[in-house]
Symmetry: C2
Subunit: 297 residues, 2 copies
């Protein structure tokens, strides 16, 4: 296998790596050694567990994005301040690595007011824009911490982060609602719940315990409850982001299932939504970032 | 010690018992054997650990309220449906106890639409009304699950439950915000945050991650962050409950610290608030419930 470089997406909970030849994927590997489970000296060993078999005689570029660039990460890659291009500066070189690699970390973006930060999404945005020349609009990146990003003239103008995914996980898994939330899904229940808090966002706080009570009093199906919890939370997010998506050109970059959910909720409000695969965007963005390291080398 | 009866407040996480003579407290004891930590056969032993020394030759009435009356509790005490008095029926006798006690559990209340339930608060409301004849208005009982209760002509007319306290605990203790929320407090930061989501409740979802970003980018003091998180959540609750408190006679029954926080936020909105001690209300309500058992015995 003639690996030319290695792409790495290193988030809080997961590590994913790809053996690359130009823009083509030769092989891939992943582990659960996310940033939260690795201490300062553990980054290189965690990575080598995945990439050892891909190495050649000549040193390979490793281009990583995500929380790996945080202060507690492999190397701190200080944020660039918006408005700016998604990857406005060259990735930061990790010092003192095994000589078989030259490792770089893509810096995240920060917004001073209102304060906000991202690490990893900037690379997906760069990858998306690489195949969408002159694209102006708003990109939604759903996940644990969903980002809404306003893009114009090739720059990230502003963005906001929503803890919707993390709230869902905490409420469904660790609150009193865990007794009532199941594993299934109900499209109609989701749509109705999302429309409800989208039009009356102040009612979110009142709706949540009602899910538990509906189970206790009416034996409500636990897949309906799961869809309603998701709907209430995403509806409240869409109420807060209305200026971002109303009448805007809109793209969603995310994992398939979650992107579908956001797409349905937005289409229900008459929004036109384009979707893009998050892994493809990450790889395209890392390829761009690699080119930046070579320009400055 | 001449114990006449025993009052018990048995919630999800705590068990508290009082040796009583009429309305007077002779002694008290508590443990962490809340309903969630006791299985079906464990209720009586958990209680006897606390009350053994209070027992006489004659059997004593034990009157308990709270989650102990749930399906998984000591004895299921089915909900009464509102509108009704806070304790409209006699407490349910626990069968087959040690002959030194005659144990009873106060039933909770349910509301069919929108679905809602309470267990324990009905007893506090009964205790509050015992010393407030002809009181009409709204009672707020802040806690893990805060209740807002509309009372008229001695009856609970309607109520809503808010998971504000549990949300605060989950976000402060288990979300990404745990790295930024400290132990202190800042009154001004709380007031500003509460006013913010009270006037713009749809922004709650956007505000939460901003607390993390303000720490990362500006090194914001962790006690300010704690007060802001509480303010954002309580402000959103007050936005949802506006019809409950606006222009209404208002009483808060709760633990001192939390009652103060709600009182300040409501006074800031021009509401007039009376406060009552939750333990005193519980004991007064259990005394009333004991009288109900004697009328029907």
């Amino acid at each position: 296998m003639n690996t030319e470089w290695i792409a790495v997406d290193w988030g809080t909970s997961h590590l994913r790596a790809w053996a690359m030849q130009g823009a083509a994927v030769l092989d891939q590997a992943q582990s659960d050694k996310g940033m939260a489970r690795v201490d300062k000296g553990g980054f290189e060993p965690a990575l080598f567990e995945l990439i050892e078999g891909w190495l050649n005689d000549a040193p390979l570029d490793v281009i990583a994005c995500g929380m790996v660039g945080a202060r507690q990460g492999w190397v701190e890659a200080p944020y660039s301040a918006v408005p700016c291009e998604p990857t406005p500066v060259a990735p930061f070189r990790v010092p003192g690595t095994d000589p078989r690699i030259r490792a770089f970390v893509v810096p995240g973006l920060k917004q001073v007011a209102p304060p906000d930060v991202m690490r990893g999404e900037e690379t997906q945005i760069a990858g998306f824009l690489a195949s969408h020349q002159n694209w102006d609009g708003v990109i939604c990146l759903p996940g644990t911490h969903t980002k809404w990003v306003q893009v114009s003239a090739g720059e990230v103008v502003s963005f906001r982060t929503f803890m919707t995914g993390e709230m869902f996980d905490l409420l469904a898994g660790q609150s009193v609602l865990k007794h009532s939330v199941g594993h299934g899904w109900d499209d109609a229940a989701f749509a109705e719940a999302a429309a409800d808090t989208l039009s009356k966002p102040e009612q979110l706080a009142a709706r949540l315990f009602g899910l538990r009570a509906a189970d206790l009093l009416q034996g409500q199906d636990s897949s309906v409850t799961r869809a309603q919890l998701s709907g209430f939370l995403i509806g409240a997010e869409l109420a807060a982001t209305r200026p971002y998506w109303l009448g805007q050109q809109l793209a969603i970059i995310g994992a398939e299932g979650l992107s579908d959910i956001y797409t349905k909720a937005l289409q229900q409000q008459g929004a036109f939504v384009e979707t893009a695969n998050s892994t493809q965007c990450t790889l395209a963005g890392l390829l761009q970032a690699r080119n930046l390291t070579r320009q400055t080398a």
